[in-house]
């Protein structure tokens, strides 16, 4: 299969500006159109290993990033995201074009893919079993996820969207770049020196944002599902001792449900899928401050 890396930067820009680029992003196919150079550059950098599909292939999502035709075009250039021609979000400053693609694609999946129970959680796998890491923003979830896949030998399924397939309760990967915010960017640069990061974008709603390229092996194994192994609610706390406190099943269930995008939409099917997860994956409340210690703890889980 052809990969995005087979295109030269000029070809990549031409495809994005012209017929569109049809990307295999894990389970889904995305057709992206954009004449914006920073989008082409970040796609070239972070999606090099991803399958490049034919222009006539069926695409799940059709996204377009363009500069709206308003007077602001000249004063404060903006970018707008269109879902198959329809505008769904407010325009953002032009330098946020690439992060907007990532956020838009997350939205496509989380608001539509109702054959999955979708949890707002990072998910990584080792030896066939996956650790689900649901957490509110600021808890260090993405940092931990980036460290686990960048240095801990875990496979990235997703840093944002845990997809539980309703048919069999298995976790379906959606390996895409890991979103790092603010202080986490330098932490990961230092901790995973060989990581590829997109240029940081400042002043987004989430602060400064950069994306870390997903490991090539995770992308190559995007078709392999995983069993739910653990549900770990992480919290970074400067200077804290590492603690891991087992959670009652009912509490794990309730906290997971609160982190789902479509739990109530799926009704009974959502309840059953979530019950299946907590049945096989014990819950932990996890506090850490040192990444080495956190990775050692996760390794202990994977070996047990």
């Amino acid at each position: 299969m052809t990969a995005v890396a087979s295109l030269s930067p000029a070809q990549l820009r031409a495809a994005l500006a012209g017929p569109g680029l049809t990307l295999g992003t894990g389970r889904f196919t995305t057709r992206l159109h954009s004449p914006i150079a920073s989008v082409a550059d970040s796609i070239g950098l972070l999606y090099a290993d991803y399958p490049l599909l034919d222009d006539t292939a069926f695409a799940d999502f059709h996204l377009q990033l363009t500069r709206p035709l308003t007077h602001r075009r000249w004063l404060k250039p903006q970018v707008t995201l269109l879902y198959d021609g329809r505008s769904l979000f407010r325009p953002l400053p032009l330098d946020q074009a690439y992060p907007m693609f990532e956020w838009g694609l997350n939205w496509c999946v989380s608001s539509r893919a109702n054959r999955y129970l979708i949890v707002h959680a990072a998910v990584v796998e080792k030896n066939g079993r996956a650790a689900i890491l649901p957490a509110p923003p600021g808890s260090g979830k993405s940092t931990l996820c980036a460290a686990l896949v960048g240095r801990g030998g875990w496979r990235l399924l997703s840093d944002e969207l845990t997809m539980v397939r309703l048919d069999d309760g298995l976790l379906v990967p959606l390996p895409r770049p890991v979103s790092l915010k603010n202080g986490a960017i330098d932490v990961i640069r230092a901790y995973v020196p060989d990581a590829t990061l997109s240029p940081p974008v400042t002043d987004t709603v989430k602060g400064t944002v950069a994306h870390m390229k997903a490991p090539g092996t995770s992308v190559a194994r995007a078709g392999e599902t995983a069993l739910p192994g653990w549900v770990i609610f992480p919290r970074y706390q400067a200077g804290a001792e590492l603690t891991a406190q087992p959670l009652a099943r009912a509490d794990t269930f309730m906290e997971l449900a609160a982190n789902c995008f479509n739990y109530s939409l799926l009704a009974a099917a959502g309840f059953e899928a979530l019950a299946g997860v907590v049945e096989s994956a014990p819950g932990w409340r996890f506090t850490y401050s040192v990444l080495d210690e956190a990775l050692a703890f996760f390794d202990g889980l994977a070996r047990s």
């Binding site: 069926f58 059709h62 198959d84 893919a113």
Partner: protein
């Protein structure tokens, strides 16, 4: 005009989908998504035993939409129950209109249909009591601007839309099916008198078949907003297919339209359903309605407008005149709603005075 959009072809002849390749499925689902008809398409294919023959990837999209539609239908049922509880004691039934009526009765257009609010019809004399009862149960008015309040209460056929404070569900309380300021004034008492109970839902009623169709027609062809135009035309098509198996329905339809002053919207509904979706309309009914047709030049114009505005709002459908057609129909919708002087005053107010205040949802 371009060729007939793939979605229309599939709605007319569902069996066509077995011949589609990946690129055609891609286009069909995009058009269905733009027209808000994804779940409807899934149901239609299911009814024709074609669902299993849809390739896996597109089928998954139909499934996704189906899950949402199922949840929607469940939520509507629950919401109707709460509305009934709120109005309990007033001695007026919950007479559901449009989407909620199709959904609760399980009529074909209700399958897979998504809509944002529940419409009910109450006698005008009981409007204040109904509003108070709904407010007590947690629904609150959404348009607080004094002008908007007057717009609705004095000139329109409904209260300002109400939204539930916790569940955020919307309800439109109507006392008629056309604005007070429109030239035709269908008698709501006739509609209420002919309404029918809903099996398994005590105190809930829906319009009789002919009235339901006429309301669907007048709603689509008097409105100025055609974003869901094709979806609403599909409602009409599906209602006609369903009720049309009974000859009595066709026999009552035109006389009832005359009684309710709705022959023109019925004429358009039958014309464009047949033209775009291939609906079977008995020749006798078409003849009976011949006098409801506009003059030939006006009809040619309306054809040009509706044949564009009723297509999915998608890049692949229509032509360079489509945006103009939608704009002209928007103007027409306002024209039909109010007499010229009042309309001029309304638009003047909206263009000037309303803009000085922080904007609410436009009335």
């Amino acid at each position: 005009m371009n060729d007939v959009p793939l979605l229309l072809q599939a709605l007319r002849r569902p069996a066509l989908v077995v011949t589609l390749d990946d690129a055609a499925w891609d286009l069909l689902l995009r058009q269905a998504g733009a027209a808000n008809l994804m779940a409807t398409l899934g149901h239609l294919l299911d009814e024709h035993g074609l669902f299993a023959r849809v390739p896996a990837r597109p089928r998954e999209h139909l499934d996704w939409a189906g899950m949402l539609a199922r949840r929607h239908r469940q939520a509507v049922r629950w919401e109707v129950r709460l509305i009934r509880q709120a109005l309990d004691g007033l001695g007026i039934p919950v007479l559901l209109l449009k989407g909620a009526a199709y959904s609760i009765t399980g009529l074909p257009p209700g399958r897979g249909r998504l809509f944002s609010d529940i419409d009910i019809l109450v006698p005008e004399a009981r409007l204040a009591e109904a509003e108070a009862a709904l407010m007590l149960a947690g629904w609150a008015a959404t348009h607080h601007d004094a002008y908007d309040q007057r717009y609705y209460r004095e000139w329109m056929h409904e209260l300002p839309p109400m939204q539930h404070l916790r569940r955020e569900s919307m309800i439109d309380v109507h006392h008629a099916i056309l604005p007070k300021t429109a030239s035709a004034r269908p008698d709501s008492a006739l509609l209420r008198a002919a309404s029918l109970p809903v099996a398994g839902e005590p105190e809930v009623r829906v319009l009789a078949p002919a009235d339901m169709l006429l309301h669907s027609a007048v709603h689509l062809f008097s409105d100025g907003e055609y974003r869901n135009g094709l979806r609403d035309l599909v409602d009409i098509h599906r209602l006609l297919e369903h009720f049309g198996t009974d000859a009595r329905f066709w026999a009552q339809l035109v006389p009832r339209a005359r009684q309710l002053e709705l022959t023109r919207p019925l004429f358009y509904a039958l014309r464009y359903a047949a033209m775009l979706l291939g609906t079977n309309v008995p020749a006798g009914v078409t003849d009976e309605l011949a006098d409801a047709a506009p003059a030939p030049t006006l009809l040619a114009l309306m054809d040009a407008l509706f044949r564009r505005a009723l297509l999915p709002e998608h890049d692949s459908c229509g032509d360079w005149l489509s945006p103009l057609a939608r704009f002209l129909l928007y103007v027409r919708g306002n024209w039909l709603r109010m007499p010229p002087l009042l309309l001029a005053r309304h638009l003047f107010h909206k263009a000037t005075l309303s803009l000085r205040k922080p904007r609410q949802e436009a009335a």
